[in-house]
């Protein structure tokens, strides 16, 4: 059964960003270890694509690679392409990258404290890219900075703009960084866990702000998040990653209503839900843990934890294959069933 996906138009909208078979490895004295082993996805104008996956599977490294900011050494991009409006940014000189960062592609970093400069005021950090990319005068840029802080619901923005990161609460720092990323009106917004430090009412406000940017100027949003409720509420499409690879790529409806990959199913089953009763629900999680980088098994990396694993799973890596026009999955067991069912249908 293929559920309808009303938000997806028939003709494919403009692809703003395409990641094609991206390979990243860590090169350390202990040796070489692959982190991303063929990451591929497309991001369309005005679309929100969510990336979900187990902690440590490579979401942040993949996001940083889009800006060529993955820490190098040890990280090195060894293959693939990242096409921004058709142009491979992996081949651009560093100088051109500086024009892209913060302007074409802006990023909300996972840990605000690592991204904010502790010795500069919040305002200073928002103003700088505005003057650089948008050629605003200093005064106009400061005005815009105050306005941005107000939009992300920071009280008394006129005062806060002059404060240093340590004077803000965790959630305010996160919002200051969001203000910084949104200020220039980027074509692509990469948001790595943007609302982890926010309560649900302010989170709703921030998500509305991002949706507004999408509507007004067609910003494409790459949303990395562990919060599957946020995914359900805001994403058009979802990419599920496991140990450096995409294991499922589907419209948000198909993903929630008909998840196919055993990892995705385990993930969805682990969502804690608000209940009206008072009995505490017990959540199991998926037994085992994600293999560390450098010790990934051959074949499907999920096989050691998978209850459906068949021999093929331990031998070769399953390819990402279509199960519907808007749903792809990389799993031997799923493919096995599909082919069997198709065979049955053909015989009848």
């Amino acid at each position: 059964m293929i559920p309808s996906s009303p938000t997806l138009p028939l003709s494919e909208p403009d692809t703003v960003l395409e990641v094609r078979d991206l390979q990243v490895q860590f090169e350390t004295i202990d040796g070489v270890a692959p982190v991303l082993e063929g990451l591929s996805y497309k991001l369309h104008a005005g679309e929100t694509l969510a990336i979900v996956g187990e902690s440590g599977c490579g979401k942040t490294i993949g996001a940083l690679s889009l800006l060529r900011l993955a820490p190098s050494p040890p990280a090195r991009i060894t293959g693939g392409a990242i096409l921004l409006n058709g142009r491979d940014i992996l081949t651009l000189p560093e100088e051109d990258m500086r024009g892209i960062r913060g302007n074409d592609i802006a990023m909300i970093f996972q840990e605000p404290m690592t991204a904010l400069n502790p010795v500069l005021t919040i305002g200073h950090q928002i103003v700088e890219p505005l003057m650089l990319h948008k050629r605003l005068s200093r005064a106009a840029a400061w005005e815009r900075a105050v306005e941005m802080l107000r939009l992300v619901e920071i009280p008394e923005p006129e005062r806060r703009v002059k404060e240093y990161p340590h004077q803000l609460s965790g959630g305010m720092r996160q919002r200051a960084m969001i203000a910084m990323a949104l200020a220039c009106g980027p074509k692509v917004l990469v948001a790595d866990e943007p609302t982890t430090a926010l309560d649900v009412t302010i989170q709703a406000q921030i998500l509305a702000l991002m949706a507004d940017l999408k509507r007004r100027i067609g910003t494409a949003i790459l949303l990395i998040t562990h919060d599957l409720a946020v995914v359900a509420q805001t994403a058009d499409r979802v990419v599920v990653m496991y140990a450096g690879r995409v294991v499922e790529d589907a419209s948000v409806f198909e993903l929630f209503e008909n998840p196919r990959h055993p990892y995705t199913r385990g993930l969805l089953a682990s969502i804690p839900k608000l209940s009206d009763g008072n009995e505490r629900q017990k959540l199991e999680g998926i037994p085992g843990s994600v293999p560390p980088v450098g010790a990934r098994p051959p074949g499907c990396t999920f096989a050691p934890r998978c209850t459906l694993a068949i021999d093929a799973c331990r031998q070769s890596v399953p390819a990402l294959d279509s199960v519907s026009p808007t749903h792809k999955v990389a799993c031997w067991a799923v493919m096995d069933k599909t082919s069997k069912k198709e065979l049955e249908r053909a015989i009848v």
Partner: protein, 339 residues
């Protein structure tokens, strides 16, 4: 608020007030951020109390005060009945072992020059808990219990992912077998499957060793799942506190109601626009008069603008501070008047 058992609660916070000075201009009067404005609560042995509330309302400041990382302007923090402000440097050591914190910003709280093994091992050394091979095997087992595995032993914090760093912080807090863990958003960087594993681990430790948790969190589904009681903060004050089931079934304070109404559902067919709280987030430098929530409250009336509402009991153990709700409170009317 009444305590049923006769022994003192593990943690008792009494009318805690914390102000941060604000840089002032010449000739301007000295101003303060009223981060925490008279907060009182207890945590019993083996209990999990969740602290929730709007970003910037003072949750981390409460946690840091308990850790003695910020100096309260007034109020008392008692652990096993002893006022921690009165402790000398020497007396402080066992206290520090008893109470551990998992910090909101994992990266900033981990020494970048130490490996994971050293980070977890350091408190073991400081408190003389385990030595040599014994220490190493303890560290390994802690790493494994938080789902990190031995291969992470020699790695530095910057070589971890966000969620891995957060788990490193949890392992460090657990290492010294504390009585209370103050967890400041300790699960926020974890995917739901790993989160479930950690929740089960914390639950298990509570069952086995009677560990207590003060759990600061934004994810209300997780809060409902792991806490026994919930305290809701708004602009430096606790506006509602009670048993988890009561808070979720029958929230009293208009802010609590707004918070619960804004919880997003993990179902793409149930999309909805969440009505934002109207009005601006208030300033903690000059908090609104009376009930701090009044500028945004749908029920506000004149009295709310003038008078700070006091906490009232609505059901056994379920308190809220709201003038309008208090007027309709049946329970209070039934209680005998006490001095």
């Amino acid at each position: 608020m009444s305590e049923l058992s006769s022994s003192p609660p593990l943690l008792q916070v009494d009318d805690l007030i914390v102000r941060y000075p604000v840089k002032k201009g010449l000739l301007q009067p000295r101003k303060h951020v009223h981060a925490v404005n008279g907060v009182s609560f207890t945590v019993r042995r083996g209990e999990t109390l969740a602290l929730v509330g709007e970003s910037g309302c003072g949750k981390t400041t409460v946690g840091r005060s308990i850790m003695r990382l910020v100096r309260p302007s007034s109020g008392a923090i008692r652990v096993d009945g002893i006022d921690v402000a009165s402790l000398s440097r020497r007396q402080l050591k066992p206290y520090r072992r008893k109470i551990q914190m998992v910090f909101q910003d994992p990266y900033a709280s981990l020494n970048p020059r130490m490996t994971a093994g050293e980070i977890i091992g350091e408190p073991l050394g400081n408190f003389g808990i385990a030595h040599g091979a014994d220490r190493e095997s303890r560290i390994m087992s802690l790493l494994e219990r938080v789902g990190l595995g031995r291969s992470h032993f020699h790695r530095y914090p910057h070589e971890f992912s966000g969620g891995q760093r957060q788990r490193l912080g949890i392992a460090r807090a657990l290492a010294v077998e504390p009585s209370l863990i103050v967890g400041d958003e300790p699960l926020s960087a974890l995917d739901v499957s790993v989160q479930a594993q950690i929740v089960n681990l914390l639950d298990h430790l509570q069952q086995e060793f009677g560990l207590s948790y003060l759990f600061i969190a934004h994810d209300l589904a997780v809060v409902q799942q792991i806490s026994h009681r919930v305290a809701v903060m708004y602009l430096g004050r606790i506006v509602e506190i009670g048993e988890t089931a009561d808070i979720f079934r029958a929230p009293i304070h208009p802010y609590t109601q707004a918070l619960l109404a804004a919880v997003p559902l993990p179902d793409p067919r149930k999309r909805r626009t969440i009505e934002p709280l109207r009005g601006e987030v208030p300033s903690p430098i000059s908090p609104p008069s009376g009930c701090a929530f009044h500028p945004r409250c749908p029920l506000a009336e004149d009295r709310c603008r003038r008078e700070v509402p006091r906490a009232q009991e609505f059901q056994a153990g379920h308190f809220a501070a709201c003038h309008v709700m208090a007027r309709n409170n049946q329970y209070a009317a039934l209680q005998p008047v006490t001095a």
